[in-house]
Symmetry: C2
Subunit: 225 residues, 2 copies
DNA sequence: TTTAAAATATGATATTTGTCATGTTTTAAT
DNA sequence: ATTAAAACATGACAAATATCATATTTTAAA
């Protein structure tokens, strides 16, 4: 099995601050898991006994709201960690994680994270900084959700996907999502997302080819009202 | 000047995990600041060189949205810390802090927090757990904002204020807020908040005496649609 | 105490967004 | 290749919410 020491994904998260010995231990007891598009990685309410590190593919973190809608909180790509928070606060997870495409994850048992967290200052400070950054992001998202129009939120979702996951050689978003996925990110009805994306297309802000989307005018997309 | 060692507020946050020596140092270099109702403690975009600990009174963290609305992100009462995150991530603050009533804060210079953060495992793990908890809360709020009706959000704001700051001997909320404050918390127009509060009053969910509000039927308030 | 300003209240109306219905297109399984 | 299911699209309408206008009440300042 491949080793963490050589994993590129590792460079992208706090794991880079583990000592060689700690990393070796992680590497020795990690397992690799595969999930197909749409499969559930974990569900809200579960107790997690470890952390998942995305090696390849994209997952979404969602929560089912009281009225039965799925709200997507965050998308996670290569190198990002799932379940980190539940481990730190030792609580059940409040979110579900679902594969958005075929995904490969490394599963690292809890102890391998908690122990360094309590003994390796560099690591724990790194995790701390990441959490602080996440928190800032979450507050920003909260405000956007409260203050921006649905159209603006859909535009944001497109911009986010482009920025986070990039485009292919022809400019199409690497991450292909359904209209429903965009609706869940923007916190709106699927029909609304469809309508808005159609409008964006008519207005030349985006173009599509099948399910693929290309942002044609990023500036205007940022300025929708 | 009073000492941190004897401060009750301290018990409520991560400072309780500082060693005696660390706490002594904090105590020796802290300064006390007073702000009147409505005064700005700090504004978004400022670089903070320390952390504020609420000793008495309540502050709100808000952000001005693109369309000129103030969105309240969090209220902070006795023992809570302001600016913690900006210190950890070493970034300018993205939120403004404003006194909701006359408030007394202890200001602790950055170094007194950062140093223990990098050397005292117990303290840094405590902060880590608090951040994890805050992040969970922020994600919950995000989802509520996206999925709940304005009426539900106003109801929530009332419930939050009761839970967080309690009631006086007659059952009135200790923290007296304007309708606009409630609107900013719920992310809605002031008129909408006013209308909804009036409706709650008509329906017997709350009663008022001047600006004071009493929750009369918590159960029903939790169940508004 | 008087008076101006701020906060609260409420109606009328416009806008945004959601919901339901229905049809078309695309995708994936047989 | 055929077919069923899923995704996409769009119209019609309803519901939620914002906005604008204006009046009343409360608060704070002179």
């Amino acid at each position: 099995m491949s080793k963490c020491e050589h994993c590129i994904a590792r460079q992208l998260n706090s794991m880079k601050s583990l000592t060689k010995e700690e990393l070796k231990r992680v590497s020795d007891c990690k397992t690799t898991k595969f999930y197909k598009k749409g499969e559930i990685i974990f569900e809200e309410g579960e107790s997690l006994n470890g952390v998942f590190c995305v090696r390849h593919g994209v997952a979404k973190l969602t929560k089912l709201s009281a009225n039965g809608n799925d709200q997507t909180v965050k998308l996670l790509g290569k190198g990002e960690l799932l379940g980190q928070r539940s481990i730190i606060s030792d609580e059940r997870t409040n979110l579900s994680a679902i594969a958005l495409n075929d995904i490969e994850l490394c599963y690292v048992p809890k102890d391998q994270i908690v122990e360094p967290l309590q003994q390796n200052q560099v690591f724990s400070f790194d995790v701390l900084q990441n959490l602080a950054k996440d928190l800032r992001g979450a507050e920003g998202d909260l405000i956007d959700m409260a203050q921006k129009s649905v159209k603006q939120r859909v535009a944001q979702a497109l911009i986010y996907v482009e920025k986070e996951f990039g485009v292919d050689e022809k400019g199409y978003l690497n991450l292909v999502l359904s209209r429903e996925d965009y609706a869940n990110m923007a916190g709106t009805a699927t029909e609304s997302a469809i309508r808005i994306l159609s409008q964006f297309k008519k207005d030349g802000l985006i173009s599509t080819k099948g399910k693929q989307i290309k942002i044609e005018n990023l500036q205007k997309l940022k300025l929708v009202d």
